[in-house]
Symmetry: C2
Subunit: 417 residues, 2 copies
Amino acid sequence: MLDSDFSQRGVEDNALGRTREHVRRHNLSTILTTLHREGSLGRNVLTQRTGLNRSTISSLVTELEALGLVEEVPATGQTGAGRPTLVVGIRDSVVAFAVAIDIDSIIVSVVGLSGRVLKSVSRRTPDAPAARTAIVMARDIITDLRKDLPGGTRIAGVGVALPGQVSVSDGVVSEPAFLNWKQAPFAERLSDEVGLPVFVDNDARLGLMAEHDFGVGKPYSNIVYLVGHAVGIGGGVIEGGRPLRGARGFAGDLGHFRLTPPLTIPTPGFSGTLSASLQRDALLEALGETAQIDDLKLEGLLTSSTSARVRRAIETQVERLGIAIAGLINIFNPEAVLLAGFLGILLEVDRDHLEKVIAEHVLEPSWTHTQILRTEPGSDLLMIGTSELPLAPLLKDPSGFEFTRAVTLTAVEKSTS
Amino acid sequence: MLDSDFSQRGVEDNALGRTREHVRRHNLSTILTTLHREGSLGRNVLTQRTGLNRSTISSLVTELEALGLVEEVPATGQTGAGRPTLVVGIRDSVVAFAVAIDIDSIIVSVVGLSGRVLKSVSRRTPDAPAARTAIVMARDIITDLRKDLPGGTRIAGVGVALPGQVSVSDGVVSEPAFLNWKQAPFAERLSDEVGLPVFVDNDARLGLMAEHDFGVGKPYSNIVYLVGHAVGIGGGVIEGGRPLRGARGFAGDLGHFRLTPPLTIPTPGFSGTLSASLQRDALLEALGETAQIDDLKLEGLLTSSTSARVRRAIETQVERLGIAIAGLINIFNPEAVLLAGFLGILLEVDRDHLEKVIAEHVLEPSWTHTQILRTEPGSDLLMIGTSELPLAPLLKDPSGFEFTRAVTLTAVEKSTS
DNA sequence: TATATAAGTTGTCATACACAACAAAAACAT
DNA sequence: ATGTTTTTGTTGTGTATGACAACTTATATA
């Protein structure tokens, strides 16, 4: 299923008519994208998968090889009769930088075109990292990492995952640092600093897209995704293989999904939403933990605890989560609901109760075939998903993509979903 | 914007590779679809719109003409210098039947490939129309209408709009008649009766798609749609130019969007949802009306009434509607919210209050550019949208489409989103 | 009536993929 | 060992489709 869509609005070419060149581009893109998703594949598999003629595959692979994007390995421990197939694999001579900015840390990864994380650097940030600080730190790390890249490595660009939508006035990203920095200037400034195209997107959406392409969401085209952070709930939706974006990229932020009616008195941050109702801190409090602990430890404590207070806290959270999921299933009719962060822990700890709550509040037909799944904890998927942003244009048009060396950016590159 | 998608899941061809034939098909489809949406266009406009060469347009139009799908009119009162262009228009020698089944009536329209309703027949049904009854009535009307068609007219198929999702256990379609008839058998039976391919879909989604392609939603690619029926609220979402469908076609049914937390005691029909909270009957009751009246009359009464009770009823409904819309905007970030049925009346009657309520509960960035619009009351759009279902395959592959004369159906035709 | 302008038609060319024949490389049978 | 079978890659030819350019048609304007 090559139905994913990492491309940002406005990138798609608007010419309705198609010409021969489009065919070539499409097929080139199809092959490279397939390899990117699935890893090395034999030529025979490619012909089978694409339905193209062997000679065509030959021509396309040759072209990709000439572009320095793939390489052919004579053979691997193959089996069966007949001439052994040539295995086509993606070369990591093309990389992208993935930057994940969080409230207390910044991570920068070098991700190869193959979708593998080649190197990662994590650094703690001051408590309320001003955007300026984040940009400088990102620039410095990138500059360092750049030095260590093997000679001849080409860089497609930089992807940045930001928690919550910048310029959102609710609690998800309430640091004034982010409020003062709308997305566009953020991308532009960082781009000016590193001299590479920079793409910015919401971290939950990027995480979801990575889950969809490489993680537990791979088999599904319709996914509802909820991730529980230290503060706030992020979310996203894949519909028909494509992420919900909405008019200006704010769609799918399910942390704002409402559980209870809003108070008539306007309050800062919207009461009654998922973000407001589901809180990791409530679990910590029940456990009597005052320090910040990571998800792994939290899971251990929750599983081993026998305290009634803890059980009650879990029950409350599961109850609310179940009602929210039921509501989301009713609206989105997904094949799978993916839970990440501490929401994944809740699923692990009390799946039965969660499913019971969902079943009580869901419409039968939508629910029957829906899976509730937990994402793999602590994986590199967010970084991989983030790297997809700058890689997307290359995957879409392998022969036409130009590796930017110039600092100047086009409007499209600056624009952020 | 040719970004609409009336095709049902499973119809899309799955071959990843593209060949020359795909180009031809795509271009043929593009031209026919453009004409279908926009009406007659000059060849010059087509070249401009598609970016294709004049000679290519010439070839494609000639082929479409040979297929009997379009005709070229020498000229119309044109202006300006230069040789006058040939105007290409769609011939209504190809038609589709649109069937709208409601609780108390059944409407069948003949819709031309041009998107014009050529003829309509409306008939009242017994109060709780058994599916069997509806099918027989539809068949009889279709048979009648068929006789009056001009010689040589070809029929693409039959589209059926059903209120709510069949096999949904909640209040939208609570008649046992529909509960006993799952969608697939419905389409199959009617198809057996009329010997034509039959496609079934939710009426709200069809209405929305028609609004998106031909109505007030035309300028937008991200739309939230709410329609207020006599009982229950229907809804739909257009995201990135395509309708939300979900895994099994149940997505976007916003009548189930939750306003207040569900009761812990399971009740038949889900309490606290839009359908449960927004009720046309509440307005009738406040007006002291006991008989059923149509939307036009209702609007008149509401506008002219000075009763405090009526005002309060309106206020309550507007309040709830506003909160719901705000929640939907937060999740879907649409460019436009379309209100139909009595919800459109509410907008007309008290737009200021509605927008005020929305503004109170919405996230600023998503709201700033969002339009709240009312659909044109009493238009033919539902019928047109419904006719798109059988027309879609023809529009998608003009030269490959085969007009079914045989009664046998393929699995795809039987399958319903 | 001549000229400019806009638009449709026709013929040639380039190209992308299909197809068929051939070559290569390995497994299997004798 | 050697030939046969099987699978795969390569090469050359064919076909179709859209680009492009030259030509023709048709109208407005001077």
